[in-house]
């Protein structure tokens, strides 16, 4: 047996984070779960312990409005001050129609998905750089690959985050630490519950995406699509010339 993995999950209540944390629990990992909903986090922590996690600690915090400076060291205490994998899994889809009319709504989406997430990534990168080991895995989105009228605001935050993670991967490479951006396609989660046709062939469950997120911490490329077929699909979508793209209703 190798040493138990030390895992920090930022936004642990997102459906994909839950499914991924459960894979770590089955391996006997030690986990710290950060999120906003104290009761739901405690339920998840108990679930992970029953599933085999060596330890699972819940920490309640609004990551989007809390500075990582003070909180990040505290989050690492239950793991003994060091970490093997950090997942950044929080984000909001936001109501684009509302955001177009009300800039404070737009600002919330940008603050949560980009501003705060980028600061957490920078703070985590500093820890990994010091450790000279460990992985930061950030959940991006295929929506960040090409702006389209139905969700460009959300997409732009994930695109920005993607470039940041790419840069961090570059920076961390020389010390042996890693940063990875995982871009899921359509995933059947409470966040996408309102979208019609959610059982189509392009849709995946969080449980189907989780193994990709789990593996991303151990090695492989800097940008990973989940499921894999989104890479060629998005390459195609990026290649469509604007005059044609503008006639679609995506």
């Amino acid at each position: 047996m190798t040493n138990p993995r030390r895992v920090l999950v930022l936004g642990a209540l997102s459906a994909m984070a839950v499914a991924t944390a459960r894979l770590y629990a089955a391996e006997g990992a030690r986990l710290v779960l950060a999120g906003r909903d104290a009761a739901a986090l405690e339920t998840l922590a108990a679930d992970l312990r029953a599933r085999g996690a060596l330890s699972a600690e819940a920490v309640t915090a609004d990551l989007a409005t809390t500075s990582p400076d003070a909180l990040l060291p505290a989050l690492l205490v239950p793991l003994g001050g060091a970490v093997d994998a950090v997942y950044l899994a929080y984000g909001v889809l936001g109501d684009l129609g509302l955001a177009e009319r009300d800039l404070t709504v737009a600002a919330q989406v940008i603050d949560t998905n980009y501003r705060s997430a980028a600061l957490w990534c920078l703070a985590v990168a500093a820890v990994l750089e010091r450790q000279r080991a460990g992985s930061l895995v950030v959940i991006g989105s295929v929506a960040g690959d090409r702006g389209r009228k139905s969700n460009y605001l959300y997409g732009s935050t994930k695109a920005g985050l993607g470039v940041l993670v790419q840069g961090l991967a570059h920076r961390l490479a020389k010390v042996g630490a890693r940063a990875v951006l995982v871009k899921p396609g359509f995933v059947d989660t409470p966040m996408t519950e309102h979208i019609k046709g959610r059982r189509g062939p392009l849709w995946a469950t969080p449980e189907q995406v989780a193994p990709t997120l789990r593996k991303a911490a151990d090695g492989g490329g800097t940008v990973v699509y989940a499921p894999w077929f989104w890479r060629p699909v998005m390459a195609l979508i990026r290649a469509v010339p604007s005059p044609i793209f503008h006639r679609t209703n995506l």
């Binding site: 009761a39 739901a40 339920t43 108990a46 599933r51 409470p190 519950e193």
Partner: protein
């Protein structure tokens, strides 16, 4: 988050006969269920929709899909006592606990069933003689009622409500958590044995001879074989093996039947062919084998959505139990009727139920023989056959399994379930289902 309901056309029961749209919410946590405790709006909690008929549908009411309530709450590695939310599936429990040497005490023929569904239908498995029904291993459960809110039930606490909830078809309130006694296993394998037998009498003999030595017993029979071959089939028996690893099953990479096949796929001719091929195939595999629990307990789970093979029209399963004194004669009569009809299908199962009492007021199993046969829905012809079968079952003092039923009459249901009136007193006034609307006293 609160409960958000949407009209859904993809919530069908396993038989796919009923096609009425359902109003569905899929809560993300138990807290989202708070509105259930106030207000009497009609509702039914559902899980993985493996009930065949209409007991997991509630047209005009609201369905609560609880499959996201899949958290484990506590597990004791010493005793195997597990408390979990009702939406977790038995398959998931197997994946988590097989590597640690534990298994659900009873598993039905599919692992795609939630804890809540297993309780609400008081499911049985191949080990009924040794272990009884699922409900016998439930130490406690939590219900969310429209009238009194959250209630904990166990054989000692709120015993009447507990007895009504085991096998209570989700009608006594929304089951939110279940405490289950898991059983120890030494490996993930079954030492199994398959034997060909030629007649119904031979089945009874084999079963009697096997009961003391094997935990798991079941027979597949060829429902197209008539006259002298009536009931012929393959008898399978097995015990948990002390040898082998604790590797759980895998669901990834399963075959998927993505579309409904044309309704004529299952016809008397193709049926004879399928049964002959299956029999030949099984005959080749006779003898003793060490089998993984997946193919042993859940052979059909390897094709997701297999009921789509029956096409747009859908299918029925007729499952009855016949009490010991009349079992032999009545089974003979049923098999003769089915063979004569040329209906029936490739899934035809005979199994003995043992003497361990079922804990639920509406539990299906009783000591005797249970018979389960799939039928393509050929409309009136199929229903007429069922009526002839009903008559045999009634006269024999047997009853049908609500989890499989989509057409039983009110009278026959009442006749088969003597505790029905007592059960009805424990029904949550807000809970209902299409099945219940059909049969309620």
């Amino acid at each position: 988050m609160t409960l958000e309901f949407r009209e859904r056309r993809d919530y069908l029961s396993w038989g796919r006969v009923e096609r009425r749209p359902q109003r569905v919410a899929r809560p993300a946590s138990r807290r989202d269920l708070a509105p259930l405790a106030s207000g009497g709006w009609p509702r039914l909690a559902v899980g993985l929709l493996r009930s065949y008929g209409d007991s997991c549908l509630a047209t005009g009411a609201s369905l609560l899909d609880l499959t996201r309530l899949d958290h484990l709450l506590a597990f004791d590695d010493e005793t195997g006592l597990l408390t979990a939310e009702a939406g977790v599936s038995l398959g998931e429990l197997m994946r988590i606990f097989v590597p640690r040497g534990w298994f659900p005490p009873v598993t039905p023929g599919t692992r795609f069933v939630t804890l809540g569904g297993a309780v609400a239908n008081d499911v049985h498995g191949k080990n009924h003689e040794a272990a009884g029904t699922f409900g016998r291993h439930v130490a406690a459960l939590t219900l969310l009622r429209s009238d009194v809110g959250e209630v904990t039930c166990s054989p000692a606490e709120n015993a009447e409500l507990f007895a009504a909830t085991i096998g209570g078809l989700g009608l006594t309130g929304v089951i939110t958590t279940v405490t289950l006694r898991m059983r120890r296993i030494a490996s993930a394998y079954i030492d199994a044995e398959k034997l060909a037998y030629g007649s119904l009498d031979a089945f009874f003999e084999l079963n009697a001879e096997s009961e003391a030595r094997f935990e798991h017993l079941v027979a597949w029979f060829d429902c197209t074989a008539g006259a002298a071959n009536l009931g012929r089939g393959i008898f399978s028996r097995g015990n948990w093996s002390p040898f082998g690893d604790l590797e759980p099953h895998r669901d990834a990479g399963l075959l998927q039947l993505p579309v409904e096949l044309p309704s004529f796929t299952i016809n008397p001719l193709s049926l004879r062919l399928i049964n002959a091929v299956y029999r030949a195939n099984e005959t080749r595999a006779l003898g003793a084998h060490r089998l993984h629990y997946g193919p042993f307990f859940h052979p059909l789970d390897s094709v997701r959505g297999w009921s789509r093979i029956y096409g747009r029209a859908g299918m029925y399963q007729y499952q009855c139990v016949l009490p010991v004194p009349t079992a032999a004669a009545a089974t003979h009569a049923l098999l003769a009727q089915i063979a004569k009809s040329g209906e029936g299908s490739f899934l035809a199962v005979l199994k003995a139920f043992g003497a361990l009492p079922s804990p639920g007021l509406l539990s299906f199993p009783m000591p005797g023989i249970t018979l389960a046969v799939d039928f393509a829905d050929h409309g009136r012809k199929t229903l007429a056959l069922f009526e002839r079968l009903d008559q045999v079952v009634s006269e024999a003092g047997g009853r049908l399994y609500p989890a499989k039923d989509g057409r039983i009459s009110r009278e026959m249901f009442a006749e088969g379930y003597p505790a029905l009136a007592r059960f009805a007193r424990s029904v949550d006034p807000a809970c209902t289902s299409d099945f219940w609307e059909r049969v309620r006293p």
